[in-house]
Amino acid sequence: MITAATSQSTSSIQPSSAGREVLLEIRGLAVHFETRRGVAKAVNDVDLSLYKGERFGLVGESGSGKSTLILSLLNMIKPPGRIVHGSAKLNRRELTNLDGEEVRQLRLSEIAMIPQGAMNSMNPVMRIGDQLELAMAEHGGGEHSVRELMEMVGLSEATERLYPHELSGGMKQRACIAQAISLSPKLILADEPTSALDVVVQRQIMQTLKNLQNRLHATVLLVGHDMGLMAQFAERVGIMYGGELVEVGEVDKIFVEPKHPYTRLLIDSISSFETKGDFRGIPGNAMSLLNPPSGCHFHPRCPNKMDKCQERPPTLKEIAPDHTASCLLYEEGENS
């Protein structure tokens, strides 16, 4: 029933770059958390298409809904949260209505996740090699042996016999990547995979991930808030604010010529070696999901605010080839 509401916007955000095959198609997806103080719309009618073999970066601050969005793809939303409506299709197969066993089949073989805290996602009393072996057996076995997988992520044979606590943070994250790619999934979800690691190790891990992504021709959805990492890793970037996708485009376009005021401010606020003593924070506070502002959710903090911004919400519109933004600045033509 919701497809009717979103169908007309679907046409405008359909990728114009012909020849690229869509792997994941999310339409009007909404995840709500029903709390005693009201409904928090953590993911609010998100439309997004990911192509086969691309590296996509999903950026947002805490509470923007980026982690909830990827958890919903694996059916990992826990009550009081639930997928209220919308669809997410992987290779035209609907993900949102799968039962437990179907999701289990899908994990690792079709979609794999590299978690944020690698240290918490391994069995502490099982050797690394055995864990990989078990995961592969549970999900139907893959074409690679444990040894090959370890080599692909740059871990030595000796590491197979170690327990998780004997590994450094970087090695643990490599072991998690080995597990994630063990059944050659089509889609790899990486939720801030390097946020707990030092920068030197982060670079090594991201290089490993990129090489594997190329080799497997998988799609990587990298979630995080480090704009530097996104600029370097992703080919396309999506920016979330308050549960909604506000801008999607190629990384070069987004960083050079951001369209949405929030994206622009976010990029300006990054500390880099180019800006000394020049502080440009975004005024105001992150929005409350329980009490969202009327109209466009960003309007209370927006420097380009217009009167109509508090009256009605914008929709994601294609404003340049392969570049969509959700802002009334770009809807003037049809409304005035």
Partner: protein, 354 residues
């Protein structure tokens, strides 16, 4: 004269004894040969940067008197911290303030945020009347960019991380400190608010003449706010000096690796393409066990390691007025006397004031 210095670390070393029932006895040298003086009258903004395990937080805790050094000493206005009498100790607690990483943990959830702001004023008898307390609290909140009517009377959970972190800054400011030691003050704050908080810290330095010791893993924010930079590696100083020149022209092999590892927010700079000099895994394990090493701490990962690096710790060689590098590649230069960082960092402070 040492009395002139507000706070001084003299050849401080901190060893944490580890081990327990299941482990062999292990010792971690968290900080070694660390010397730094902070002047009471000339405010400085210094960053101590390092990765996890580099000892940066231990230095903060040593200077705040929260842990005792294994050897060496921390002095406040010329006196070792354990020897401070009651009056001096109270003065130390007032003049040296802390801002911690986690803006959630520092609050008692049962009290409104007013409590954390008014208590220090009462404890240190800095205000005489209720209205004076109110005035000073409101001034401090305004100074860090908060609106008093939006923050006072609220509980910590009703405020965002950014607001909470600014309130702890306001609390530190209320005591009119000479020095604020800020341990990763923005690492748990949303990206869009980081710049705002850093700006309010920098304003306190500029307008109130408060010295800062900014402790961070993030060289980009360090570059933005600080004049002087100390780069730590595994408990020892790798390189120290003027921030601008270190970032533009790092000389220690570790600093070079660190700076080149930071992903620039500019697409197409080939961060992923340039090869990383991978260190061997066995060595990584060894490091994880924090073994006590007699030589340079970076020797396992250093692409330029020489034989002598294994056996002895390099001095801090002064290669310029504002640069010290702890690496044998620079041993023709004169070592900094006693490895005291102030020698390198203070020159810069003097030139700023010219």
């Amino acid at each position: 004269m040492s009395d002139e210095f507000l706070l001084e670390a003299r050849d401080v070393r901190k060893v944490f004894r580890g081990g327990g029932m299941l482990q062999a006895d292990t010792a971690t040298v968290a900080v070694d040969h660390f010397s730094l003086k902070i002047d009471a009258d000339n405010p400085t903004f210094t960053t101590i940067a390092g990765e996890s395990g580099s000892g940066k937080t231990t230095i903060a805790r040593l200077l705040l008197g929260l842990v005792d050094p294994t050897s060496g000493e921390v002095r406040y206005r010329g006196r070792p911290l354990p020897d401070l009498d009651k009056v001096k100790r109270k003065q130390y607690r007032k003049e040296v303030q802390a801002i911690f990483q986690d803006p959630f943990e520092v609050y008692n959830p049962f009290y409104k945020v007013d409590h954390i702001l008014t208590t220090p004023l009462k404890k240190f008898s800095l205000a005489n009347s209720r209205s004076e307390i109110q005035d000073r609290v409101e001034t401090a909140l305004t100074a860090v960019g908060l609106r008093p009517d939006e923050t006072l009377g609220r509980y910590p959970h009703q405020l965002s991380g950014g607001q909470r972190q600014r309130i702890t800054t306001a609390r530190a400011l209320l005591l009119e400190p000479k020095l604020i030691i800020a341990d990763e003050p923005v690492s748990m704050v949303d990206a869009s608010l980081r710049a705002t908080i850093l700006e309010s810290l920098h304003r306190l330095f500029r307008e109130f003449g408060i010295s800062f010791l900014y402790i961070t893993h993030d060289l980009a924010t360090a570059y933005q706010v600080s004049e002087s930079l100390v780069v730590l590696y595994n408990g020892t100083v790798a390189e120290a000096g003027d921030t601008e020149s270190i970032i533009r022209n790092p000389k220690h092999p570790y600093t070079q690796e660190l700076i080149h590892s930071i992903p620039a927010p500019v697409p197409g700079t080939e961060w992923l393409e340039k090869p990383v000099e991978e260190k061997a895994e066995g060595k990584e394990i060894m490091e994880a066990e924090h073994q006590v090493i007699s030589g340079c701490r970076y020797v396992h990962r250093c692409p330029k390691a020489m034989n002598k690096c294994v056996g002895q710790l390099p001095d801090l060689y002064q290669t310029g007025d504002t640069r010290g590098i702890s690496c044998f590649l620079y041993e023709e230069s004169v070592p900094v006397p006693d490895g005291d960082l102030t020698e390198i960092l203070s020159t810069k402070t003097a030139t700023i004031q010219d």
